[in-house]
Symmetry: C2
Subunit: 220 residues, 2 copies
């Protein structure tokens, strides 16, 4: 298990309002640059969470981070690219699903569902995934992130198992199952889904994943 790609959601002290140069420590250029990048990301997360994607300008993010707007563009390019970086998708999910897929074919579906649920149970990974899922319903960029992430993760974990002409559709239907489950368990909170144990949900939805593992017209 690795840590999420981005920083943990540690509370940040109030950032200075006045602009200051990116390198505070002239001796080491890299650490100063990394600090500025993180500072911009934190400011972006704060602004996007508070006002949403559309109402947030790069200028406002730069002001919140206390850096020059040109520096934001230098490090992250467009507002959309900055948004994608700010979404903080954890790397833990691809690893967990790949581990679950590694074993025997029997019970594979249940292991996938359980691994998915366990990453969501993790307090350090959940907020980032909540933001992504929530934003995906309203923002095109976030929807694109979720699309790439969901299918990419499942393709990586199950690509050797899921073959055939309809492989992409079956991967998408597995993603649909897992995304739907996260939605009703964590966002919409459809009773009794949030109260059921991961193990029981894995037992119920494992066979659903198993259904999508095989082509509709089985070869052999």
């Amino acid at each position: 298990m690795t840590l999420p790609r981005s920083t943990p959601p540690e509370p940040q002290p109030q950032l200075p309002e006045t602009p200051h140069p990116p390198q505070r420590h002239p001796g080491g250029r890299r650490p100063g640059e990394n600090r500025t990048r993180e500072q911009i990301l934190d400011a972006a997360r704060e602004c996007f969470a508070e006002r949403g994607y559309d109402a947030t300008s790069v200028r406002r993010i730069a002001e919140t981070a206390g850096v020059d707007q040109a520096l934001v563009h230098h490090f992250y390019g467009t507002k959309e690219k900055l948004f994608l970086n700010a979404l903080e998708i954890p790397l833990r999910m691809p690893e967990a699903l790949a581990e679950a897929a590694a074993g025997d074919r029997v019970g594979l579906g249940s292991r996938i569902v359980l691994a998915h649920l366990q990453v969501w149970e993790d307090a350090s990974a959940r907020p980032a995934m909540m933001t992504t899922l929530r934003s995906a319903a309203t923002h095109r960029s976030a929807a694109a992130v979720l699309r790439d992430y969901a299918t990419g993760t499942i393709r990586e974990a199950l690509g050797k198992v899921i073959t055939g002409e309809d492989a992409e559709l079956r991967i998408a239907l597995i993603a649909t199952t897992l995304i739907g489950l996260s939605l009703t368990r964590h966002l919409v909170r459809l009773d009794p889904v949030p109260e059921v144990s991961p193990e029981e949900l894995a037992a119920r939805l494992g066979p659903v994943i198993d259904l999508h593992l095989d082509p509709v017209t089985p070869a052999a």
Copy 2:
């Protein structure tokens, strides 16, 4: 097939800014009252769509509708109740699912999925459902509407078929399947789900619904 509960999404002319009494036609009280109610609903939809639930006040809705604020409370109670009314959930879905459930047990799951998809294909019903699903990811009230609507609709259609101690969970998992499908087909647009025909999706996901129709420990 009945029409949606609320008015079709016909473009409304700009509403008057000045307040006016609810009854324009003193001869018939009911039609004037209905018109005012619709006027308030249209204003609410406009405001909620434009500024979101939190930033919209009852006062602003009353101003947009050109009526007294007290009248909004009189007709709809709280802002939340007005929001729920404004969501325009179509009555077509419960009817379509009930019709699909009426036939033989063989192929029941596929018929449910197909009926669900066909209501979503309908141009007059889709915007309302899109708004509900989209809002459910961010607004508690909308999530509550979706919860009641989804489980209520499925319980009504399949309540006789789905029995046993775990009936509520199985109903919720069928709702999860259908909500997840709508999310990846219409909102997140997870390739290739939006391009696949309703019939093919019904063939793929029908067996998933069928899995949830029976209790996990079958009672003979």
